[in-house]
Amino acid sequence: MPNQNGSLYGLTILSPIIDDENATPSHDLQIRDYLAQLSTREDSPFAMAPGTHLARLVVMDDVIYVGMPSCEEHLKSKYLVFESNCDGDLDTYLGGLADAIPTHLDGIWGHCVGYPKQGAADRQAFIHYMKACQLETTFYFAAVNDKSVPATLKALQIQTAVADFIASHQGADPATLQREFIDFAAHLRAQPAPPPGSLGPHRTIETGGHNE
């Protein structure tokens, strides 16, 4: 099943964008504009809906002409590419999007051909529409293919905390070490995992700033 790698699903969706000469700006530009204003961090729609590890949205204007002796050809529509690396079952994932972020889905895919009239409020129609635009992933590679988003975030949190614990308990006597470790473990278990899409706990280490 090439779309699946372990518990990770490689969802590839290509949605034709409405081509309407009378739309000003055109629908593809409207999608671009909507995406440009969307947060990519904790308040991203994909952070609010469950199951997305990494996802991208790309307005694909056309195929690319690589030059002679290849033939030049063009797509008749622009397409919105949605590449998502998500947890588990496709229906659950798509349904999860419809439940959590219907307004954003409408804002993005509302510009695409055949999008349900009621938008994501019509959960079944939304899932059906997305599947109609789905491409089969031919080969899918995942470095870590058996951990969900919440499990991953928790593991990262534990790693940071453990490193700090080891550093601060060097040379501790066994009784103190054990007592403090038990406290530490209980506290860590109880602590909620950090929200998806965040840069992790604030650290004062600078590696040079943002990439954006």
């Binding site: 990519t40 990494l54 195929v63 290849s70 491409l135 840069l199």
Partner: protein
């Protein structure tokens, strides 16, 4: 627009393929999928979080009617989406240096592919067939593939030690703790912001 979010880069590539060559590529992917040792190099180049190839036959572009004009194409298209850590140059340098045969096997069926060695014409080709990401989300921008793998190793060891902690004497715990530190000592790197690239 940004191709980068935290420590991960979203690369999108589209290349045309003559339809008759596509079945060879499908076979290559089939073999790659089912002969796991062939994936070792990909796994050992530990900077890829997720990557996928998608073959779109020329008649398989999604068509939803409603006034959409159906596509009339000569070529099939190969889409490649990668989510990798590090810089664009570093990524392509690495592939060209150690995975050139695998890359050639996948892309030689695409029109005008110059080969993955030497690296400069290869980079020029990729720059030509790359298109940019409008929106890129990651649930863990502060962590790389290496960080993820390390995190799971640490969590595993930590779980086991936690269970043991409650039931042991201090001396037993101290010994177990040393073993625990030895298990995780190579996996304690900080996570955080990525180096600035431009």
């Amino acid at each position: 627009m940004s191709n980068i979010n935290g420590k991960v880069y979203a690369l999108n590539v589209i290349t045309p393929m003559k339809p008759w060559k596509t079945w060879i590529l499908r076979t290559a992917f089939f073999v790659l999928d089912h002969v796991k040792p062939l994936q070792n190099d990909l796994i050992n180049l530990s900077f890829i979080e997720f990557a996928r190839w998608v073959i779109i036959p020329r008649d398989a572009f999604p068509f939803l009617g409603n006034g959409q004009r159906p596509e009339e194409l000569k070529y099939n298209y190969l889409l490649f989406f990668s989510n990798f850590n590090g810089t664009w140059n570093q990524y392509i340098d690495a592939f060209s240096a150690v995975l050139s045969k695998g890359l050639n096997l996948i892309w030689r069926w695409s029109e005008k592919f110059p080969g993955s060695v030497p690296v400069t014409p290869f980079k020029q080709y990729i720059a030509q067939v790359q298109f940019d990401t409008d929106y890129y989300y990651t649930a863990y921008p502060h962590a790389t593939a290496n960080d993820l793998k390390s995190a799971h190793i640490v969590q595993n060891s930590f779980s086991r030690l936690s269970t043991f902690a409650a039931q042991s004497t201090p001396q037993q715990f101290a010994e177990a703790y040393l073993q625990f530190v030895l298990q995780v000592q190579a996996h304690l790197g900080e996570t955080g912001e990525a180096p600035q690239v431009g």
